[in-house]
Amino acid sequence: MKQKLTSPVQIILLLALTAMGLTGQSYPGKPKIIRCRSLEKETFSCWWKPGSDGGLPTNYTLFYSKDSEDKNYECPDYRTSGPNSCYFDKNHTNPWTTYNITVMATNEIGSNSSDPQYVDVTSIVQPDAPVNLSLETKTSASKMYLWVKWSPPPLVDVSSDSHIYHYELRLKPEEKEEWEVISVGVQTQYKVIRLQAGVNYVVQVRCMLDLGEWSEWSSKRCIQIPNGDSPPEKPTIIKCRSPEKETFTCWWKPGSDGGHPTNYTLLYSKEGEEQVYECPDYRTAGPNSCYFDKKHTSFWTIYNITVRATNEIGSNVSDPHFVDVTYIVQPDPPVNVTLELKKPINRKPYLVLTWSPPPLADVRSGWLTLEYELQLKPEEGEEWETIFVGQQTQYKMFSLNPGKKYIVQIHCKPDHHGSWSEWSSEKYIQIPTDFRVKDMVVWIVVGVLSSFICLIMSWTMVLKGYRMIAFILPPVPGPKIKGIDTHLLETGKSEELLSALGCHGFPPTSDCEELLIEYLEVEDSEDQQLMPSHDNGHPSKNAKMIPNETDSDSGRGSCDSPSLLSEKCRETSALPSTLQTKDIRDVQENKGGKRSWETQCIASEQKIVHFNNESTKSSTWPAAQLPNNQPPMFAYHSTVDAHKVTLSTTNVNIAPLLVGNEEKHQSQYPISETVHHDIEKQREMENLHSKTDQITVQVKQNRPNDKSPFLNPKLMDYVEVHKVRQDEEPAVLLKHKENNGKTEKYTVPGTSKEYTKVSTVVDCNIIVLMPDSRIQHTFLSQEPAMETSQNLQQGQAEKNMSYCLTVPSECKRETTGSEYMDPSSFMPSFK
């Protein structure tokens, strides 16, 4: 089966092939590389001749390889050198390599490639022929010679400067056959002597690079050598000009002289006259010119001028030239161009450019009126700026840039028909830079001022930076827990904390009143009982409970002991109850206050002592109290305030811890004075002094009334630890200890208060205890109604009372709980 199939296929194929053979279509014939040539050794081209195309469209591709490389490249450019060519440009040409070039012809059926051609660029160099061949006959010393000039062949893609061509010239008379070859060298011109007159010569030139072949001969040029006996050529009149509208000159150009010396004569006639005159003056204006002086110049008349050239053989006349002198005026350029810098007062300086009309022009009589034009440009500039000035001979320049150099030129023209003169010589303008001095001064002043201002501003910023910042960006108020100062909690010592908490409630503001901390004061004197109960409005001081520390004065807690005084003097902690929002200031003030306090301590001690002498009441107590009671109600006092503390209560200017209400504070003092006796005063004193303290001493009790609560001569409770309950509700029962007989009542166990909550620990030796409200009732029931104050106090059982407890001093300052005190613990429960 297969065989059966294949044989028909074979037959078909054979048929197809023969058919193709009959129709003449076949693979292409072999192309042939005709020639490769380089024009200048940097590029080269190759041309090929196609073979038969086999009846189908054929593509030709040129492949080449270099030297012994195997890699085949394709022709980079098939177009530049024409059809069937390949152009190798600079980048593809290596002068010292041998190229192996083949051309392949491809059509639908197949392809055929030419024989390889080995091309060495240096060997195929042949430049183009020179161009622009020009011939000229010249006569010198009555001898004729031929002046031949040409240009080197133009080169594309390559600079022609680097190529030096050698030239060769050949000439022959037209009729002759033999060429005379002259080697020229590298020049592009040549003078041929030994010419035969009257002969028509043919000239050609060719060139060669230092290596390679001679180019082709350039195209022919012919020239007729004039005969020695020919008349001169016709001269031509170039132009006629009048420089000042009074005289004029005409110039002509002679033709060839025909081999013999030639004379030239100018002849003219005027309009309306038949008479022909000859030029009056051939010399003044130079060779080949005629000068007409004033006498021979007429205006508004047309001159008919001709020039005749005459030699031995014959003569020749130029074409006539008609001229009316009025219209051929071309003045000389202006002269005396001067610059002047004018500096008027209160105005910008400007330049004045002045010039004079050309000397020959008679402008004074009005015969010739000139118009001027300026040409201006900056020295580095490209374009001239033309300014028409008119008939004036000066020009003011206002808008030139200082410091720059300008070039200026002037020319002129008659106001009516005529032509512009030549430009005057260039004049340089240098704008003085002192134009700028004013600006510089201004800028310097501005700079100095601004730097000055910056300095001042930075200085104020540095000094009063905080205030400025506070002024501009008021500090965000933190949560205000009355009586608690977070900052103090953070940074202050525990004593300060405690003192801040309550002891400063000097000016009883509403905030202060919220701090319900009763001061139980234990006093020696009889007066000192249950003061707190009826002195609601008075602040109480915390008694510092120092159970383990007693001094000779019984009934007095060691809080009051003089020894403590000094301690307290030194300590500068503040109670946390004194929540202050003015942190920064307070710290500062604290520090200041501390220092002043110390001095005050001593002073207060003295004062207290002094004061005590006056008092009829328990003198020792206040004395002792005072120092102990430094728990400054105001932990923060300004340093200013510190030295304002005086015995006079009216002058006190206290910044309360809790919330400043200075007016209120100030009012306290007089009130307290009137209400209370010495004790209060003492207390005031203490407080006054203590306010500068930063020792946390007392927690003051907030009273709702406007009286300075802490001035209440409340009983400072110096309590003894009665017992410590260790049951499930651990509590410390404190026994109120009183010196007087009344105290006995207080020692009823039932009356002892139980303190279960520790609110704060101040300064390592003070614990602020909070009584448990549940237990209050026992106190209430058992207490006799002896003292109204006591009752009141009972009534205020809900009040939390905190006591100062001194604890062993090893403990460092600790603050219990969070930095915020539970404000509810300080809230006054009574109205």
Binding site: V363, W367, H416
Partner: protein
Amino acid sequence: CHTSGMLTPNGKEYAQKIPREELTHLILKLLQAWKEPLSHFNQHIEHHQELPDDSLSKAKQISNMVHELKTGVEKSMGIISNSLNGMASSEAAGLSISNEANMMSDSDFIHCFRRDSNKVQSYLKILKCRIMPENSC
């Protein structure tokens, strides 16, 4: 040109030698000589359709200017006293001349007018600088 017959100084020296009045006279004579031909010319070119409108209006403008110039010169020179005599003769002369002018071709006409206006301008300038030398002379 129809005014070629007039004897006018051909150069600066000649113009400067002539006394003022004579020069003024000359100017006026020239201006007068052109009055009529100009109007005739204007009429003539109005029928020319090839000329652009600018040329027509320009020509009219020029003839007006000539007239104004003549009047101005007369006034400034205070010629009135002489004018009657002088102008009468010049009028007569002008008439004959202008007849001649009508026969010129347009290009000749323009050429002649250009020349004569240049003459007038030069004479006037000389006069001006003679009378008032301080102004740009």
